[in-house]
């Protein structure tokens, strides 16, 4: 056994409630453990108990007993703990200090005074093990998020820890980057005795490969076997949800396992009646092209959006999704082509365009500035001379209970809601959201899906850039795919996400014609 927590209770300094209560958990050598649960439920806090960041870095009150490789992490100096438990964090940019990849990997060893020859061999070995030899001499700032996270893992492993802790390492990455990181982690498992604990929202990728699961919700920690977790966790991947609905036991973890468990029993499709057809045209994009220098970012994009429509804008990073939004909002002055709003040419000024078609860029929470949530929304209403009252706005964004709070005191999910609310408080007819659910948990995604549908039902329209087809299938009516600046297809959602389509959901791979778990029945 490498680590054991016994009746551990922890409270952050200045908090009113315990973040973790009476936690009992054990980690064996060679374990590959998924830490699952909603945002702000205590996953990060739990991981930080294993390397002593809690309470040594964060302070607060801790009770119970901790044992990691025979030491008490709450009292062992950080320099020593680093050789026992290494940790990789969410943000690629906020965890490195060196200039190049090899220097970054060597940094920890340099600080510990490892001899040069041993250090060289170690660096070579790690670069090979993580498949990043080609990056050796690159400057960190030129790497993609996925590459940086793999470098971070190598840098942590350089000190040969016995426990590897990963705190949502893919939440800031696109699907390609996330896949490369998760595949790397999976490869590490099974080589030697290294125990891995990874907190993640991408359960569909990890549940089938981990050896155990720690479910963390509301400060309570439960240990499960993977199939048990699929049956008990509040939020599970679609395939597990279908398995639960069909009362399969054990709950299958993959599409293949589910098909095998059904053993040829026929499934039937339960479709809700289609919603009303779209209304008048709100926004039209006509042959818009943008290039940065010699680099074309968007080529001749044309489409229109009508009342009641919600478009999911998909495509890999760098395919032009953000550029398209910026061109519509008027942020790119050298865009060619035309943008028409309600049949008329769009005004030139950004503030006038966004009065009609509001844009929420990625991570809008970094621009929060006021000292209360109400002031944040109030400022937008004032700037836009909106008829909407502040109280209505707070209700619409589910923020009434937080109105007097300082945005800085809220959880990341709540901050995101405040920030989206602040950008859209004046209820523009068209919403444009750039990856609004990146790193969010299922509850936040469901809330946003409802909010989007309400908006569309009231005669509005929305375009949402996203990598997440499972949750886009819940709200989108149409899907536009961009690839290298060109619109590759523009299809109704049921075709885009259906079986045999470009990007099928798990439900579609189980039953042709379905795209959502609840549409699959026996």
């Amino acid at each position: 056994m490498i680590a054991r927590l016994d009746r551990v209770t922890y409270r952050y300094p200045g908090a009113d409630t315990d973040t973790l209560r009476n936690v009992v958990a054990e980690v064996e050598d060679g374990d590959f453990t998924l830490v699952a649960g909603p945002s702000a439920g205590g996953k990060s806090t739990l991981l930080r108990l294993f390397n002593g960041l809690i309470p040594q870095f964060h302070g607060g009150t801790l009770s119970g007993s901790l044992d990691v490789a025979g030491r008490d992490p709450s009292r062992t100096p950080a320099r020593e703990m680093a050789r026992i438990a290494g940790m990789v964090f969410q943000e690629p940019e906020a965890q490195s200090v060196a200039e190049t990849v090899e220097d970054e990997i060597a940094f920890g060893m340099e600080q510990q005074g490892v001899a040069r020859g041993a250090m060289r061999r170690n660096v070579d070995g790690l670069l090979a093990a993580l498949g990043i030899e080609h990056l050796r001499l690159r400057t960190l700032t030129t790497l993609s998020g996925g590459e940086r996270q793999r470098v971070a893992i190598a840098a942590v492993l350089a000190l040969e820890p016995r426990l590897l802790l990963l705190d949502e390492p893919t939440s800031q990455l696109d699907p390609t980057g996330a896949e490369s990181v998760l595949a790397t982690i999976q490869r590490l498992h099974g080589k030697g005795d290294l125990a891995i604990l990874v907190a993640e929202h991408r359960l569909e990728r990890l549940l089938p490969v981990v050896t155990s699961v720690l479910g963390v919700e509301g400060g309570i920690v439960n240990a499960y076997a993977p199939t048990e977790a699929a049956a008990r966790l509040a939020a599970v991947p679609p395939v597990c949800e279908i398995g639960r609905r069909l009362k399969l036991n054990p709950v299958p973890l993959t599409v293949e396992a589910l098909k095998a468990a059904l053993a040829g029993r026929p499934l039937s499709l339960a479709l809700e009646p289609a919603s009303a057809s779209p209304g008048d045209e709100l926004l039209r994009v006509d042959g818009v092209s943008v290039s940065y220098g010699d680099l074309p970012a968007l080529r001749d994009a044309s489409f229109s959006i009508r009342e009641g429509e919600i478009i999911a804008l998909v495509g890999p990073n760098g395919s032009g999704k953000t550029t398209l939004f910026r061109a519509i909002a008027g942020l790119i002055s050298h865009a060619s082509g035309a943008v028409r709003m309600r049949g008329a040419a769009a005004p030139a000024k950004v503030s006038e365009r966004t009065t009609f078609a509001g844009l929420v860029p990625q991570d809008p929470a970094i621009a929060l500035y006021h000292e209360s949530v109400a002031e944040e929304l109030g400022e937008t209403l004032r700037n836009r001379r909106s008829k909407q009252t502040l109280a209505d706005s707070l209700v619409a964004w589910n923020l009434s209970s937080l109105a007097v709070r300082h945005p800085g005191d809220l959880s990341v999910g709540q901050q995101q809601r405040v920030a989206i609310g602040a950008m859209l408080a004046h209820e523009p007819r068209v919403w444009m959201l750039d990856e609004p659910t990146r790193g969010a948990d299922i509850r936040a995604k469901e809330w946003l899906a409802h909010r989007l549908k309400d908006h569309a039902a009231a005669g509005g329209a929305a375009i949402v850039a996203t990598h997440d087809s499972e949750s886009a299938a819940r709200y989108a009516t149409r899907v536009i795919a961009l690839d290298q600046g060109t619109i590759r297809f523009d299809l109704p959602a049921r075709q885009a996400f259906g079986s045999g389509a470009p990007m099928p959901t798990q439900a579609a791979r189980i039953l042709p014609g379905a795209i959502l778990p609840e549409e699959v029945t026996l």
Binding site: N51, L53, Q56, F57, A78, R79, M81, A82, R83, G86, M87, F89, E91, E93, A94, Q95, S96, V97, A98, E102, D103, A106, F107, G108, M109, E110, Q111, Q112, G113, V114, A115, R116, R120, T141, A155, V156, L159, A329, L331, V350, S351, T354, T355, L359, V360, P361, D363, P364, I366, A367, L368, Y369, E379, T380, N383, R384, G408, A422, M423, H426
Partner: protein, 350 residues
């Protein structure tokens, strides 16, 4: 580097200053170009030229030492409560020559540092920080690490203000600056956490005695310098004081390097012959300073002593000429990874 500075700031003979200036320009022309280097060197060149013109102009309009009057410009005295400065008046040949000489000196120093700055990457400078300044170096490294994302934040916050219908201008400034500062500080706390998790950050304090020694160096050197320059009879004790001070300082540097036992992945940042040459130029520079302090006037020229024609000696001219050696170095190995050669030897230690 050190040599250029020393020669430029001690020499007053226009021949030698000219040689230094040309050497620096030669090195700049031969040095490998990096994108960052070219812009910063050009900026410095422009800045230097402007400074030269301004100081020359100001020097001329009130440069009224000396007897060799060239011409007179109509002038006026500023009121006495402003210091009674006289503008205009007679312009003397000595004044013009002196101003030109000093202008050349300052220009050489500016340009020499320009070449240095453009050739050496910031991370490289920091890697060469002596262990005694480990923590301070770490602070600056962290700053460098966090810079790019902070600049990006400011750009994005500005865009989001526009998207929210913000009016821009001065009144919108707090909405731009406050989130940028707070966001940056919060990001730095996340970096601090990652650093802590990787087991570094706080280093223990170094041994106390060498630190005391280093601190004693400051008053000792100050006393020594005052004695040396202002009391001719006290030169020998001053020299001894200076030696004691430098010893204390050196002790501190060395002992700190022992306490902070770290290793490096890459071997010597600078090749051997570069290090040798750098040391040689430092020795030459120190020798020049020493000789000048003992009263050697080989590099000197005084226009105010009745405006003589400056002397030129071949031997003395070799000193400023030595500043051009990096150019030769570049000529023989056209593409070194980065140009380390102008580095002051003190920096190449760690």
């Amino acid at each position: 580097m050190t040599l250029v500075m020393v020669v430029a700031l001690t020499a007053t003979n226009p021949y030698y200053l000219g040689i230094v200036l040309l050497s620096v320009l030669l090195v700049a022309a031969m040095a490998p170009k990096t994108a960052r280097g070219v812009t910063s060197f050009r900026a410095l060149l422009i800045f230097g030229a402007i400074m030269f013109v301004i100081s020359f102009t100001i020097g001329v309009i009130n440069g009224n030492y000396g007897d060799h009057r060239l011409f007179t410009i109509p002038g006026a005295d500023l009121p006495s409560w402003l210091g009674g400065l006289r503008l205009g008046g007679p312009v003397s040949a000595e004044g013009v020559v002196a101003t030109l000489t000093r202008g050349m000196a300052i220009l050489s120093v500016l340009l020499a540092f320009g070449v240095f700055n453009s050739a050496v990457s910031p991370h490289r400078v920091l890697r060469s920080t002596p262990a005694a300044l480990f923590q301070a170096g770490l602070v600056v490294t962290i700053g460098l690490t966090l810079l790019p994302s902070s600049i990006e934040d400011v750009r994005r916050i500005r865009e989001m203000r526009a998207l929210r219908g913000g009016r821009g201008g001065l009144r919108d400034l707090p909405a731009l600056v406050v989130p940028a500062v707070v966001g940056g500080l919060e990001r730095s706390m996340r970096l601090a956490e990652a650093m802590e998790a990787r087991g570094y950050g706080a280093a223990p304090a170094g041994p106390r005695l060498p630190r005391l020694g280093a601190m004693a160096a400051a008053p000792l050197l100050l006393l020594a310098a005052s004695g040396w320059f202002y009391y001719e009879s006290l030169r020998l004790p001053s020299a001894m004081l200076a030696a004691a001070g430098l010893a204390g300082f050196g002790w501190w540097i060395v002992s700190a390097a022992r306490t902070h036992h770290t290793t490096t992945l890459t071997s010597e940042p600078f090749p051997m012959h570069d290090r040798l040459l750098a040391w040689a130029s430092l020795v030459l520079a120190l020798a020049t300073v020493g000789a000048t302090a003992w009263g050697w006037d080989g590099l000197k020229y005084n226009p105010f002593a009745d405006l003589p024609w400056p002397r030129f000696e071949l031997a003395a001219s070799l000193i400023p000429l030595a500043a051009a050696w990096p150019a030769l170095r570049f000529a023989f190995s056209p593409a070194p990874a980065t140009a380390p050669v102008l580095l002051a030897p003190g920096l190449s230690e760690q």
